[in-house]
Symmetry: C2
């Protein structure tokens, strides 16, 4: 089922490895730790590269979604294998999870795109942080509002379920039309909106 991290990390030969060994900074090792190429220079990021499938499992997103994020410039594979397989660094997991969280906060992918561009364009570190803070401050407010809405819905659901409990004592041969003149509910209680919505039109 899960072949996530319970095996050797992927080590595919990189694009241009044999054909253009002069190209620096683009290396890794081949699968199963056999055929590792000799080091060609100082490089600290040639370990533990992930294929899209691995990244998908590690981040809880689909391969298609990750392709889309890359298309939108939210993500870049660290390298490509000879067979054009995308190879991601571990950082990519953080990035994809980060995208998911911003989505949960209500940002669209185009919004995330522009937030990220602004960040990358920013000439000043604390300036970039200030913009980030503004976004997060607003999202904290809207998230709290969203929680309030869901909590209200939760209450409505509970009350509707309580109301519907009474229906257990109704006769199975009763037709739905009879509900409008039902007197089983205590104090002729008016049905909650989640129940009333069915009956209408």
């Amino acid at each position: 089922m899960s072949r996530q991290f319970d095996h050797q990390p992927h080590r595919l030969p990189l694009a241009g490895e044999a054909m253009a060994p002069a190209l620096p900074g683009v290396r890794d090792s081949s699968r199963g730790d056999v055929g590792r190429v000799p080091d060609l220079g100082p490089d600290d990021s040639d370990e533990d590269l992930l294929q899209v499938g691995d990244l998908a499992r590690a981040s809880g997103k689909t391969v298609r979604a990750i392709h889309l994020y890359e298309e939108l410039g939210l993500l870049r594979p660290h390298a490509r294998s000879k067979g054009r397989y995308r190879l991601f660094s571990q950082d990519a997991v953080v990035r994809v999870r980060w995208i998911g969280k911003l989505q949960d906060l209500g940002l669209s992918l185009p919004s995330i795109q522009s937030v990220l561009r602004e960040w990358e364009m920013s000439p000043s570190a604390p300036g970039a942080m200030a913009k980030m803070r503004e976004v997060y401050r607003q999202k904290l407010a809207s998230t709290r509002e969203q929680i309030r809405r869901l909590a209200a819905l939760e209450t409505e659901l509970s009350e509707s379920l309580k109301y519907l409990e009474t229906c257990d004592s109704c006769s199975p041969v009763r037709l739905i039309e009879a509900c409008s003149c039902c007197d089983l509910h205590e104090d002729n209680q008016v049905p909650p909106e989640l129940v009333a919505g069915f009956h209408i039109t």
Copy 2:
């Protein structure tokens, strides 16, 4: 701005009113209370009909959305005016709000469609109620889960904002690249994921 209920309810001449007065149950009155047609039979629902715009405002949905719901069979106008304007009964407001709540609970319109069909097809009142309860029971669980997720995100946002407060004391000429070796945060605190996500790739 809001012309919702601060004026006379709409009273448009109904379709077929002059041409086919024999058609019963399809009536209302003309706008501004002038030109009201005489009653043509027993009918208790010819008052306070709403145009789509009114329904949209009253339910917080767009006209386009209401058209879509009608297309999907989730809603039917009580009647049409001579000019083919849709005329909705007050019940429609409850129905549209109900749709919105089920959407908030995570149901798609096709799902709502089938829930509604099942309900309308059900031969037994308590049987229909039992099915409704099953849906609501599951949705109560998923809503609680969703609230938990959002609450966790809320905590993360708060912590990220707190972390970012420290950046106020950073020099404005600092570049973002310097963040990776920043030592301003207490105990060399590791940045929260919502902050780390920016830095990556």
